[in-house]
């Protein structure tokens, strides 16, 4: 890849480090999604299937750790909602701001603290950490950005943190 432009607009620079889109989940953690997630990857861990194992090891049912972000994602549609409901809004804001119609995630870091338990209602909040200058990759011309997401339960306990690196890009002819 090659650097195209090093300038970062002031309005974007002002968002770096600022908490955005603090949002309480639309629904509590429930077993249907736990089982669907396990089924999607053929996960037979008895923590998620066997009541006695869950009670003994974790004091009751918990969700797979990798399902953390799912509890904070909006429904595809809900009464009164208009347009597509998006989970990582900062990512989509940057796509619009820089007029980069396509995007892909390249890196992901998950740190897990308290596990999500049945009935937990997760609150998430997003923080933009960085935006790169324009770069050209084989997908097109665009920018990389890093967005952190923090997740807490209804008691304020930290459940985990996530950091995404996204690449928003504009395809070039032949790309």
């Amino acid at each position: 890849m090659t650097a195209q432009d090093t300038a970062l607009p002031e309005d974007v620079a002002a968002l770096i480090g600022k908490v955005q889109y603090e949002k309480r989940a639309d629904f509590p953690a429930e077993r249907g999604y736990i089982w669907t997630s396990c089924a999607s990857v053929q996960n037979g861990n008895p923590l998620f299937w066997d009541d006695a194992v869950a009670a003994e090891l974790t004091g009751g049912h918990i969700a797979p750790l990798s399902l953390l972000s799912a509890w904070a994602r909006p429904h595809y549609w809900a009464p009164g909602a208009e347009g597509e409901q998006l989970s990582l809004q900062v990512h989509f804001d940057l796509k619009i701001r820089f007029e980069l119609p396509e995007a892909i995630m390249t890196d992901n870091t998950n740190v897990f603290y308290e596990p999500v338990r049945l009935g937990d209602i997760v609150t998430s909040r997003q923080v933009l950490r960085s935006v790169s200058p324009e770069k050209r990759t084989k997908l097109g011309i665009g920018r990389f950005w890093v967005i952190d997401v923090e997740y807490h339960n209804q008691d304020g306990a930290l459940l985990g943190t996530e950091s995404y690196t996204g690449y928003g890009y504009r395809r070039e002819a032949g790309a």
Partner: protein, 157 residues
Amino acid sequence: MSDLILDRLAKGDALPTFGVDVTATTVILGALASRDWRPMHHDHKFAVERQGVQDIFLNTPNQAAWFERYLNDWTGPKGRIGRMVFRMTKPVFPGDHMLLTGTVDDVSVDETGCGWVRAEISLTVDGAVRTTATARIALPTTPDDNPWDRRGERWKP
């Protein structure tokens, strides 16, 4: 599924190899299970014509779910993942045979007495790396130890 104990591991140990044939169902089921409604994970035409990739592809949280399953198959249910870092260099598509392999990179006990193993994992297709991951997993130091009991200052992922 048995519980792995920390002192049975050493740097350089190999994790079991796991392979799965990825289908469109794999991709779409994973996307919906993680509540990711973005069309590149279920709409072939969108993926090809808009994104410029060859097909729909596994989404990020579902890749994390595959790694979690892989690691817990190895550790047993007492294995508690503290941290997972991964880099996706090329998407995983229907038709790919996804192969997960791993190596123990470090074994340690922190200042609270919690046992940790660091594993380097590769997701390859036809021998080419698609995603690499580093995972930090708490393991029992004795048969009676349970990393899930750790809270607050005793849990340092």
